[in-house]
Amino acid sequence: MTRVFIPADAGARAVGAEEVARAVAAEAAARGLALDIVRTGSRGLYWLEPLVEVETPAGRLGYGPLAPDEIPGLFAAGFLEGRPHARSVGFVEEIPFLACQRRITFARCGMTDPLSLADYRAHGGLKGLSRARSLGPAATVEEVARSGLRGRGGAGFPTGIKWRTAAAAPGERKFIVCNADEGDSGTYSDRMIMEGDPFALIEGMAIAALAVGARQGYVYIRSEYPQAIAILQRALAIARAEKLLSTGSFDIEIRVGAGAYVCGEETSLLESLEGKRGEVRAKPPLPAHKGLFGCPTVINNLITLASIPPILADGGEAYAALGFGRSRGTIPIQLTGNVRHGGLVEVPFGVTLGALVEEIGGGTASGRPVRAVQVGGPLGAYFPPALFDTPFEYESFAERAGLIGHGGIVVFDDRVDMARQARFAMEFCAHESCGKCTPCRIGSERGMAVIDRILAGVEPAKNLALLRELCETMRYGSLCALGGFTPYPVESALDHFGEDFSRAPQKSVAA
């Protein structure tokens, strides 16, 4: 039976994948054709979604982006035999956007049925866990350390060291917590794995549990991801039924967040898991010593955990062989916003920002010049094209007063008003502050007011100096990176796009 692949990923659904899937099923039925329609995750080529793929002896051919009313014509053109159609994109794996990538963490995403354990096994799944079982806990931790893997949640802390600390911490009960709060704007790689390859996360958590001696895991997922929650829930049930997980040795529970950005910060997340207000805890103690319910806890980003199975399967050295400087392995980058080819790009660290935006991303969607890109979420800096030679990796971004965060890149064309973006950064901080530190809670409110005054032309020189001072106070007086890093987008807007702050009074904030 011919196999046809249609994503059920939320990003594909958002642009009509459900309607397309229904139209394909209806047209096949009308023609009396028996089709095997496999609902997959997304390949991450979002500008082509809804993308329908058909299996042919030579490989998988793609058609997209498709609208439901194009489906009868697609059948008439003979797409089931791989014949051309106006929406043909050729062999999906040969599309330059995908062909230039090195997919390790995302190797299966968009290829397989996310809820088929047979598919998962057939495509390399569970090899990592079985190798970890034969290596034992200590050697498993060392394999992760050898890979050079650093946390993909944003801070880039070495995962091997975190695991070593938790493994060595005394305690009857230990926990593995997956941070799937994914609050950074311009990011969705966690969501794609939950929807497209959920067993990879489950396997990664099982390996982490084995490595540090934990029997309970939690996945904390933001409530904005209803589809991901549902798919991971079903994957967990399958994993339990198939004895991948078994209550007693290791089990995983899903907890759903409640719309607070700060709950992505690890200690706030732990408070939230304990059922409390998501207020940030002072460190020390580190979660690896005293985390959830006071017990040693490994808290890792979802992508960190989903990268563990291939590292165990193929060895830490193979992973460490890729990368740039102290940033080893690959990083799933998300090209978003006003970009022609938006989607997921997994590449070894070190590709330049310009190659990502201009070459792989193809410039803006609007066709206008790129003016700014924000890298690393709402706390990340805005970079102008003059800095496009920056290699995408932790240290190079830090050297240029930026960060890579969770790998999100948001592209803006030349119509962007950077003073307004700076004001939004302050507004977001005020909206999401947990309230514990004055510089974050009050400083961000004042920041908005000061930018408003600058834009209204009120004592601009004095207010610009005040804004710089406020940034300093927030940077040094905040307990966590929400207050501490909000200066990145604000100061980078001032440094690289200062002209946008001196257009007053012709320009109003609300414009």
Binding site: A10, G11, R13, A14, V15, Y46, W47, E49, E182, G183, D184, S185, G186, T187, Y188, D190, R191, S223, E224, Y225, P226, Q227, R255, V256, G257, A258, G259, A260, Y261, S272, L273, E274, G275, K276, R277, G278, F293, Q334, L335, T336, G337, N338, V339, G342, G343, A365, Q374, P378, G408, V410, V411, F412, D413, V416, Q421, F424, F428, H431, E432, C434
Partner: protein
């Protein structure tokens, strides 16, 4: 939805009791109550606090911290419009302004006929298909004013 208060109180107590085995249950229970009633009714706080053996103040602190938790019912349909950066880059601000004006709403408000609530949200993970929204939990992307109008008008009243 239209249960009598006593009946509602009993049901809330039952939900709370059902989570007594859960570690750190307060947020889970509040979410479950909201799931059932569409919001967290005022009378829920003492009932849950007693069942979980925490103070009312503590529970109220949790209830007021999280943007998702509602203390009043929403409209029959909820539109969560993304206001974050990737959507901004594709014109989300103008789209939102127009949608709010068209329905005569400010952020978080519900239309007089109780049909629609429009809420802000900061990223839905649909940033390569922006501007985007969640309409009654269904993701929608590549939005423009016409598509948004069709979506709202096409929904059951």
């Amino acid at each position: 939805m239209d249960k009598e208060p006593e009946e509602r109180t009993d049901r809330i107590a039952a939900i709370a009791r059902a989570h007594r085995e859960t570690e750190g249950p307060a947020l889970v229970v509040l979410r479950a109550v909201q799931e059932e009633f569409g919001f967290v009714p005022r009378e829920a706080v003492p009932v849950i606090a007693e069942a979980l053996n925490i103070t009312r103040a503590e529970l109220h602190g949790v209830l007021s911290f999280y943007h998702d938790l509602r203390q009043a019912p929403s409209g029959r349909h909820v539109l969560k419009l993304c206001r974050a950066e990737a959507c901004q880059s594709m014109g989300a601000a103008a789209l939102a302004e127009a949608a709010l004006a068209r329905h005569g709403l400010a952020w978080g408000e519900t239309t007089a006929d109780g049909a629609l609530t429009i809420e802000p949200v900061y990223c839905l993970g649909l940033c390569s298909c922006s501007p985007s929204a969640l309409f009654d939990d269904e993701p929608v992307g590549r939005l423009d004013a016409a598509r948004l109008d069709r979506l709202i008008e096409g929904a059951a009243p």
